[in-house]
């Protein structure tokens, strides 16, 4: 590292990236705040309405059910993806034939476009031709058939299952590479002391990758709060708003309902929720570690 005498050279290096990043990522957040105080349909004059949009959003039942669904996605992701991924990674973290194969297939859904996944799963859940109903029929459990995405009681569950399916592989791979950093000597020492496999996992392995688990939980939460494409394509928030999440509701209100100010108020709340939830979980989990 060295001190450069001419600061303009540094400016030349950093400014192009900084400009694009500011204009197209940071500034829009602030513009969102600004629009959220306006009543505006995108064409006519903007009107300043103060906190009216926020007042309305906070009394909007559909908004609150979209928050609830967002929380459901977060819970399903954290309690579905993380434990399944951790268990699988622990299983595969040994000399096993075909380990590479399991790893490769395990990660595959993560690189597939969400739109492709949504359309595929929409067909899997299809009430007439879908894989699930056909399978239930074939094994004589036809009475369990449902209109999975068409029935408000099942739609959200069906969506959550797809989300878990899509991202288990990501955490599986993260945990697998973290497990490789656990020092072998400590494990051997524990073995000599007569520790069972369970004890080794509980008292050596898990604590030494605890930081990665923590980071994964934060990633998982911030990822699930971003849920949009999947629900937009699979159900567009229906039936009867039963799968609406904050982002799809914001999209509806803004671009279908042409209420830019109202949509921006929802955007601001998405931003606040995301940052808040991430901060809270980081705090909570850090305390637990000590």
């Amino acid at each position: 590292m060295h001190l450069l005498k001419k600061p303009w050279i540094i400016a030349v290096g950093v400014i192009p990236a900084l400009t694009l990043y500011l204009i197209f990522s940071i500034v829009p957040i602030f513009i969102s705040f600004y629009y959220s105080f306006m009543s505006w349909n995108g064409f006519s004059e903007m009107q300043f309405v103060g906190l009216a949009n926020f007042q309305e959003v906070l009394q909007d039942k559909v908004f609150w059910s979209s928050v609830r669904n967002n929380v459901l996605v977060v819970l399903a992701s954290v309690f579905g993806q993380i434990p399944i991924a951790l268990a699988l990674a622990l299983l595969l973290n040994r000399k096993i034939r075909g380990a590479k194969f399991f790893r490769t297939i395990g990660f595959m859904p993560v690189v597939i476009s969400t739109v492709v996944i949504s359309i595929t799963w929409r067909m899997i859940y299809n009430s007439e031709y879908g894989m699930i109903n056909n399978f239930l029929e074939a094994i004589g459990l036809g009475f369990l058939q449902q209109n999975w995405l068409g029935d408000p009681t099942w739609a959200m569950i069906a969506v959550c299952i797809t989300i878990i399916w899509q991202f288990v592989g990501l955490y599986f791979i993260i945990f697998l590479s973290a497990l490789q950093t656990v020092p072998k000597e400590i494990l051997e020492a524990a073995e000599l002391d007569g520790a069972s496999e369970w004890m080794k996992t509980r008292y050596v392995v898990i604590p030494s990758i605890w930081n990665i688990i923590l980071i994964s939980i934060v990633l998982c939460i911030s990822g699930s709060l971003k849920t949009f494409d999947l629900i937009y394509v699979m159900t567009s928030g229906g039936p009867a708003n039963s799968t609406e999440v904050m982002a799809t509701y914001m999209y509806d209100k803004t671009f279908e309902g042409l209420r830019y100010g109202y949509g921006s108020a929802i955007s601001v709340l998405i931003f606040v929720f995301s940052i808040g939830l991430i901060m809270i979980t980081t705090k909570l989990l850090q305390r637990k570690e000590v």
């Binding site: 290096g13 990522s25 829009p28 476009s113 969400t114 739109v115 067909m123 955007s267």
Partner: protein, 290 residues
């Protein structure tokens, strides 16, 4: 003495049996995981080769006769060729800009000491937390004002901006790990900072650059939300957007939908299988290091 040997033998036999059962269980779980991961994809590919009738009667078996009409139909009616081109064009241009600007900024952030350096780095990395959907409304208005709506530029700029944080994060930590003697001799020889960047730092960063390129490309290739909001001219649609629209219009022609999905999916999977190691490393690097 013989008694102890026998005893020892039975113990080890039991232990071996127990070990075999354990191994078997592990394999069973891993194989189940593989089936759950891969079967939906396989199901879709198989059915894309069936006639609509065969699909409704026998959605599980292999096709009786492999038909390609679905592919012709999907290709012709869904314009997949043009979507491919758009995705490729937007994805690659955005990637080049992002890598160029990102690498340049990372070089100065990693190799020079200047006031506000850590702050600037932190400011870039915070972008990882910005929820895309909180920026959709202002982005739409911004692009309208700039006259970019329905042009490739409308996607290129946000793609660059939203990929800069991860790019800078990866490249800065990689470039920062080089010993500082690297530049010293070059400076003695009279190289300026730009020359050092092009001839020394950039070539040395190849592994991190490769990871950043792949991550950028996957993100751009799969992106849906910005395309949905900023592009409404079908001839400019990217693959995810075009595919979602196609599936929305041909809701009952399942086999043609599956053919379209398969055409989009196969290149992704091939790319993944070829680059697997780099992709997986790239995805885990950030998390495991932090």
């Amino acid at each position: 003495m013989s008694e102890t040997t026998v005893n020892y033998d039975t113990v080890s036999k039991q232990a071996r049996k127990k070990k075999r059962v354990k191994r078997g269980t592990i394999y069973l779980v891993l194989i189940l995981f593989t089936i759950v991961n891969a079967y939906p994809i396989f199901w879709m590919i198989m059915n894309s080769f069936k006639t609509g009738q065969e699909f409704s009667f026998d959605p599980f078996g292999l096709p009786n006769e492999w038909v390609f009409v679905n592919y012709v139909e999907a290709w012709v009616t869904a314009n997949i060729g043009s979507y491919f081109f758009n995705s490729l064009f937007v994805g690659i241009v955005a990637l080049l800009i992002c890598i160029l600007f990102g690498a340049f900024a990372s070089y100065f952030l990693a190799r020079f000491q200047f006031k506000g350096r850590n702050l600037l780095y932190g400011f870039f990395v915070v972008g990882l937390l910005v929820p895309i959907h909180a920026t959709l409304v202002p982005m739409f208005i911004l692009m309208q004002k700039l006259g970019f709506i329905n042009t490739h530029l409308a996607l290129i700029f946000p793609y660059v901006a939203f990929n800069l944080p991860i790019t800078i994060f990866l490249l800065t930590s990689f470039m920062g790990s080089f010993p500082k003697e690297i530049e010293e001799s070059a400076i003695m020889d009279g190289c300026g900072p730009f020359r050092i960047f092009w001839s020394i730092i950039l070539p040395m960063s190849r592994p991190a650059l490769a990871t950043a390129v792949i991550l950028n490309f996957i993100n751009n290739w799969n992106e849906f939300s910005f395309a949905l909001v900023l592009i409404n001219d079908d001839s400019l649609s990217t693959l995810p957007l075009g595919l979602a629209n196609f599936a929305g219009e041909y809701t009952t022609n399942y086999t043609a939908q599956m053919a379209g999905l398969t055409m989009v999916l196969i290149p992704t999977i091939l790319f993944y299988l070829v680059m697997e190691k780099q992709i997986v490393n790239g995805m885990t690097q950030g998390a495991v290091k932090g």
